[in-house]
């Protein structure tokens, strides 16, 4: 039941905000804050009280209620180690997103209501074990994204919003098709993941159902070459929504690809994994290369997300515990770091300087004008580059370890990707914040308390995770031995 509280608090918050009269519109952010704090509370409680002992059940906090018996649809939620980790991520990003939206004064009720609906949908996806329920939550996220970007966004917002939405809905259409076909072919008259994953799908069916469903989900995870919605969408979005998109919405894609597509169709996965691993690596290298060429700081961060999500997809395709565990860890780590980067660029800098052009920012002497922003961006960059001591390092290292076993020949391009990531991150950091030219100091509004609070929270999480990765890795790795996924793991004999 504690899990249900996470998305219920978000949806209830959205409903309450919509009921606010116009003259009380400024209360919207407080209600939103309470709702996301309640959600974080629930997620944190689930994370901390998740029983790690070997005798404990693999799936905990299970709730099962009949919903639409005619189609075998039930309200079936629960969590394994992967779910609790991603629920915690959602909670953290949701709270910091509200903190970084504290200055939204344009139609705040609608803003926070749409925001909370996204949060609720994301919480829902990460705990659903009924595929219909999961798909419902997955689709709930689509429409609020459009309005948040189109109405509160910046650069080219209507185009960016529509492009992002149409990519999402095209991905969903592929998923829907594969889902319906799965239901029809299984003949089990149920959408229960545990029942469906017992197998029985012919290799011929898996050979086409797997790529259709996987690509459908992976669109949202930024799989190259279907990633182009992400940079335009992230850049057009208001800060909190960029944070949500990079922080959790992209993870919906990779999580669902693992939870549904890979779990249901192991044979199809076997046939296609090399192709998808190559695409993932292409995303790492090309995403990083394109980021290197950007003039707009937010575009740099946007393309870096593609590179980092490439690692997630590569890790998933390794089919060993190191690679897949690293992939889930990377989902968490990139959620925090990406969220932090977008928060600095969108809220701390752009809202004050009204430019994101790296060269222009370089002239403003941000080190003196906005020291806190500079410090935060520096830490986030260092974490994003994958330096030891931060979460990104341990995640990418474990993924590389996994792919060394599964795809040794992809290690070189992936390594090159890491080098380019370091290059573009340092380039952006140096040119925007530590320029060599003549500084022309300007003064801006000081960084507000909610911004500092949010930034400190995110930085603390990434450092904490960099030092104690086992906190997350233990529950994650445990999940790969559980009934849904143990058949996926193929440890190869090179040990």
């Amino acid at each position: 039941m504690i899990l249900t509280a996470t998305f219920l608090s978000a949806f209830l918050g959205a409903g309450l905000i919509l009921l606010l009269p116009e003259r009380r519109a400024s209360l919207a952010k407080w209600i939103a804050l309470l709702a996301v704090l309640a959600g974080l509370g629930g997620a944190k409680f689930a994370f901390l009280s998740f029983d790690h002992s070997p005798a404990a059940p693999d799936y905990q906090f299970l709730t099962w209620l009949p919903w639409i018996p005619q189609l075998g649809i039930s309200f079936f939620t629960g969590a394994d180690g992967i779910s609790v980790v991603l629920l915690l991520l959602t909670g953290i990003i949701a709270v910091t997103g509200v903190l970084f939206s504290w200055n939204v004064t344009h139609r705040p009720r609608a803003f926070f209501a749409f925001y909370l609906i996204i949060i609720g949908g994301v919480y829902g996806v990460f705990q659903s074990f009924d595929l219909f329920l999961l798909f419902v939550f997955y689709e709930i996220v689509i429409i609020p994204k459009y309005f948040l970007i189109a109405a509160w966004g910046s650069t080219n917002r209507e185009y960016g919003a529509m492009k992002l939405t149409m990519y999402s809905v095209a991905g969903s259409a592929l998923v829907l098709l594969a889902l319906i076909a799965t239901y029809a072919v299984s003949g089990a008259q149920t959408f229960d993941l545990f029942v469906l994953s017992r197998g029985g799908f012919s290799s011929g069916f898996q050979a086409w159902a797997f790529p259709v469903m996987f690509i459908g989900f992976a669109v949202l995870a930024g799989l190259w070459p279907l990633h182009t919605w992400a940079p335009t969408g992230h850049v057009a979005a208001p800060t909190a929504v960029s944070m949500l998109l990079a922080g959790v919405v992209m993870k919906l894609g990779s999580y669902s690809a693992l939870r549904v597509a890979m779990t249901l169709f192991p044979e199809g996965l076997g046939q296609w994994r090399t192709s998808f691993a190559i695409l993932a690596t292409a995303g790492i290298v090309l995403g990083a290369l394109v980021a290197l060429a950007q003039k707009d700081l937010k575009f740099t961060v946007g393309y870096s997300s593609i590179a980092h999500m490439g690692f997630v997809l590569l890790g998933l395709m390794t089919l060993n515990r190191a690679g897949m565990g690293g992939a889930v860890l990377q989902m968490f780590s990139h959620g925090i770091i990406g969220g932090l980067l977008f928060a600095v660029v969108g809220r701390m800098i752009y809202d004050r300087t009204h430019t994101r052009d790296i060269a222009d920012l370089g002239k403003m002497d941000l080190l003196k004008a906005l020291p806190f922003a500079t410090l935060t961006f520096t830490i986030a960059s260092v974490a994003s580059m994958g330096l030891p001591g931060f979460s990104g390092f341990i995640a990418e290292l474990t993924i590389l370890k996994g792919s060394w076993i599964a795809f040794p020949w992809l290690l070189v391009p992936a390594g090159v990707g890491i080098v380019i990531t370091v290059a573009f991150t340092l380039r952006a950091l140096q040119r925007a914040f530590y320029p060599s030219g003549e500084p022309m100091p300007q003064s801006f509004d000081p960084i507000t308390f909610p911004e500092k609070l949010g930034a400190v929270l995110l930085m603390a999480v990434t450092v904490c995770l960099g030092v104690f990765p086992s906190m997350l890795l233990n529950p994650i790795l445990r999940s790969f031995q559980a009934p849904l996924m143990h058949h996926l793991v193929q440890e190869v004999t090179t040990k």
Partner: protein, 487 residues
């Protein structure tokens, strides 16, 4: 005999109400409030008669057949008619208002009779009783050229379609020697060429009624030109009645000649014909809607597309698919009626239904904008709204026997496209600012109804079994339609 009277009591009450309303119209033509009130009161009495005194049975050799399913559809049709009556107060011209409402009532009587018959002759008569008042209503805004054009177009195309239908039904009668669907169902063996022609012509006639290719041309002009309340009834009630009776004719009477529409395994019958009509409608409707700038025209093209989705379920022709079709058509009608309700109020406020007229709706009347969001997102098939579950159910059951994959692929893909044009409307309503300050118009009754419909769409999305239950429990679709299929 008394049972027959009770069975037809709802329709009788509506006819009496229509006559009373005409009487008020003659004596006090300006008392529009009283006219509307009398109409609604009559409708409520009819609903009470339907609910409080249910009779089941077969009267006059299948001319009037009542069962739980038929009564459910009568109730839905009655409700949709009354929704249009409320909207009519905002969108019909003041002159001859009573006559307009009387015509609406007569059309409702036709629809309700249609839901409760199994006889070809009665079907044709009821269809004409439905259509003739609607032709007049489409042309009712006498000062508007668009309305006159709508009425004329609707009438001309409708008459041609009726001719096709009458010819088709008479050929079926000629082969079967009876107008009763259950007697027709006893025909077996190789189909007579005359019967094939009869089925084809019947399908063409119904293509007009539910606005699918090849008889879809009238829809955009009629939806745009007709007074919006009339368009709402044409789009909702008329479509529900048409789909329901088409389902009945095809499965109850012509179940032996279903055929299959599976890819590479076509078997002759009506299913492959429907499949082609469905595919063409889904593509044409969704693609043409992309470029519309008038919301009513856009809804018309979306109606063509939705007609296509419904036919996909009909092609599959098994119990779950038919339940899904009936579920979806009800959901679709509620949603479309609601969307037209928003258009009615916006039109009254801004004088038009172009995209620009919706700008700033989110600011001037947030509740209305939110309702529009619910309706259009439901039409686009996004959860948690009823339209999503309707489509999901429809596609899942159409695919259940694995035969209609090509149609489902096409429909899912085009459905993704459809989100684009619904979002364009919503962008104007919710994102763009109003060009000039507008005062929200007071239209409390219509607004209340719109909110109610939006809540219904949300509730049926969260708990669809509230409607699937009555549609699919043993007594209804399965026994009445499918049993004859399997015999």
């Amino acid at each position: 005999m008394t049972n027959l009277l009770i069975a037809l009591a709802p329709e009788a009450f509506l006819v009496i109400t229509a006559l009373v309303v005409l009487g008020i119209g003659v004596s006090a033509p300006k008392a529009r409030g009283a006219i509307t009130a009398a109409t609604l009161l009559g409708g409520l009495v009819a609903a009470a008669a339907l609910l409080l005194h249910p009779v089941d049975g077969n009267f006059l050799h299948g001319m009037v057949v009542l069962n739980p399913l038929a009564r459910l559809f009568k109730l839905v049709l009655l409700g949709l008619g009354l929704v249009s009556v409320v909207f009519a107060a905002e969108s019909f011209p003041k002159l001859h208002f009573a006559e307009a409402l009387a015509l609406l009532l007569f059309s409702m009587v036709g629809m309700m009779l249609l839901a409760g018959t199994e006889d070809l002759l009665m079907i044709f008569l009821a269809l004409e009783l439905t259509s003739l008042p609607l032709y007049i209503l489409a042309a009712f805004a006498k000062e508007s050229r668009a309305s006159a054009e709508a009425g004329l177009k609707y009438f001309l195309i409708g008459s041609v379609a009726a001719a096709f239908l009458l010819y088709g039904l008479s050929l079926i009668y000629g082969v079967a020697g009876s107008t009763n669907l259950r007697v027709i169902a006893k025909l077996s063996g190789d189909p007579d060429p005359l019967l094939i022609a009869g089925i084809a012509l019947t399908l063409l006639g119904f293509a007009f009624k539910i606005a699918v290719v090849p008889f879809q041309l009238w829809a955009p002009d009629v939806y745009e030109g007709a007074p919006t309340a009339a368009a709402a009834l044409i789009a909702s009630g008329s479509k529900v009645a048409g789909v329901f009776i088409l389902t009945k004719i095809l499965t109850l009477g012509l179940g032996h000649w279903t055929g299959t529409a599976g890819w590479g395994q076509f078997a002759p019958g009506w299913a492959p014909v429907l499949a082609l009509m469905a595919a063409a409608s889904v593509v044409l409707g969704n693609v043409a809607a992309l470029v519309q700038s008038n919301v009513k025209r856009l809804l018309a093209y979306s109606a063509i597309a939705h007609g296509g989705y419904l036919l996909i379920g009909l092609c599959a022709a098994d119990a779950p698919s038919l339940t899904a079709v009936l579920f979806y058509v009800i959901i679709y009608a509620l949603t479309t009626a609601g969307a037209f309700g928003v258009v009615v109020i916006v039109e009254k406020q801004r004088g038009g239904s172009h995209l620009e007229d919706f700008e700033g709706l989110g600011k001037s009347s947030p509740v209305l904008a939110l309702c529009l969001l619910v309706f259009l997102i439901s039409l686009a098939g996004i959860p948690p709204l009823a339209g999503f579950f309707g489509k999901f159910y429809l596609f899942t059951s159409a695919l259940a026997n694995g035969r209609h994959l090509w149609l489902v692929i096409l429909a899912v893909a085009m459905n993704a496209v459809s989100l684009y044009y619904y979002l364009i409307v919503l962008k104007h309503a919710l994102v763009l600012p109003a060009p000039k300050e507008t005062v929200p118009t007071a239209a409390p009754a219509s607004k209340f109804l719109v909110v109610l419909l939006a809540l219904a769409v949300l509730a049926l999305g969260l708990a669809p079994n509230a409607l699937i239950g009555p549609l699919s429990n043993g007594q209804t679709v399965k026994n009445i339609i499918i049993n004859t299929l399997q015999k």
